[in-house]
Symmetry: D2
Subunit: 149 residues, 4 copies
């Protein structure tokens, strides 16, 4: 179950330590508790770009989760330090897809891989809105050619 | 650690089953996971009174948590059915205090006891607001003399 | 965003009410909070079959999450009553895949669809173990021909 | 609601950033989400003492939560950086009581104050066990005279 993935495609990562409240009665990190780790990784990825809180249109336009998939490769336990690698892999007209990979810092074991697709919506009407060009270009400037449109 | 408390002072209870995500690596219910159980018990207590969503003043006036205390008497485990006893013990000018007690249905063992004090505030200004008389009277009609002012 | 999916392929469902702790600052159910709902649906599905706690081999053999995917179709809010439809769609040598669909009871709006694949492992060694025939047959007796092998 | 408490009695603090999953539909940090922050603060307090994972007796002797109380003074919101001050205030024969205080880094506003009492138990029998002298002395060496017995 230990894999040594090619992480060269990631230009950003963020570390998180497993809290006791993240564990479950199997003695490992509850599978759903990786999602808050992913959220923080997306936030830190955008903060690192200077894009956190960047204008994405009118008041009330926000990104909401549209789809996610996660694969669990090995379990983490209490107090493990986890490195979450993240990149935006695709940015479309109204949606953005992130790729994430988490591994244990101590031994490099791959824990989980995931993709998350968020769509920019008008929160009141839940209608998809076009992602502003400035947002798209700021991501492209960082991710380069690897970013799909 | 098993106690057989006097539950005659409670006129309402609500049952909840422990989910796997409520457990932690000690194999028991994580101590913080009782709080969502208490929330649901408060909601069902108010629904039972016909008071859920009852007008408590202007738009944006809501109850927020001001203080809580919890004592842990015995642990619960995955799939335990828990009965949460709840009563409003005191209603002041701007705040309401609930008493809660949770026990395992199977054997009646007392798990936790708690009090929670919520204050009615204007969410925007975080200023305490007077609880409407109709709200206070609806509670008093149910709890009777035991309700402190 | 409202869909009226064909639910005839599901023979079991379980209802859950959204608690306040399930919501987030967008005013809707946090996307990760559906996972505990799915957990309870799997538990109730197995309980309904008389299979909860069924022997799946040696001590320490348990199902762990291997992969999941979720699509979010419409948001739920505080106090919504949600019906979670669930079926086992595939049972292989060491893994089982569930299909889930959640909709709001009040108006039938489809909220999320998901698949979850769990693998039976020896918890200590994290090695996949064969699912006992009795387990497989109990599921097949319920799901019938639709169950993939 | 803003207070400028005397923090001179705390010799240790630890910072945490509010994640999106920590918020609720009132737009603030859900009151129960401070507990995982407190857990991490206790862990880092002990790590800083070199006491994390310190032997507390036989296998299966662990600290479990016995009582907690929390007061909420002001709300935190998404992405706030919070400083959690922590000290062990009392160490008895079988239990330890922590005092905690959390404030927002940006403006120093006091958010919550709390006490948590943990008891050392034999997890299997749930029987209180005496805290080893070495553990007690390591804490006393740090907290000094302020530590109650």
């Amino acid at each position: 179950m230990s894999r040594s993935p090619d992480r060269s495609r990631f230009k950003f990562s963020w570390n998180v330590r497993v809290g006791f409240s993240d564990t479950d009665a199997q003695g490992i990190v509850y599978y759903g508790r990786y999602l808050p780790y992913f959220d923080r990784a997306r936030v830190e990825y955008l903060r690192d770009r200077g894009m956190l809180g960047m204008d994405v249109g009118e008041e009330g336009h926000e990104f909401v989760m549209r789809a996610l998939s996660v694969e669990y490769h090995a379990p983490a336990v209490f107090d493990d330090l986890i490195e979450v690698y993240i990149r935006m892999a695709r940015i479309g007209r109204t949606s953005a897809t992130y790729e994430l990979e988490a591994s244990r810092v101590r031994d490099g074991v791959l824990l989980v891989t995931a993709t998350q697709t968020l769509v920019l919506v008008d929160l009141a009407e839940r209608k998809p809105m076009p992602i502003p060009d400035a947002y798209r270009e700021a991501i492209r400037a960082f991710e380069g050619e690897a970013l799909e449109a």
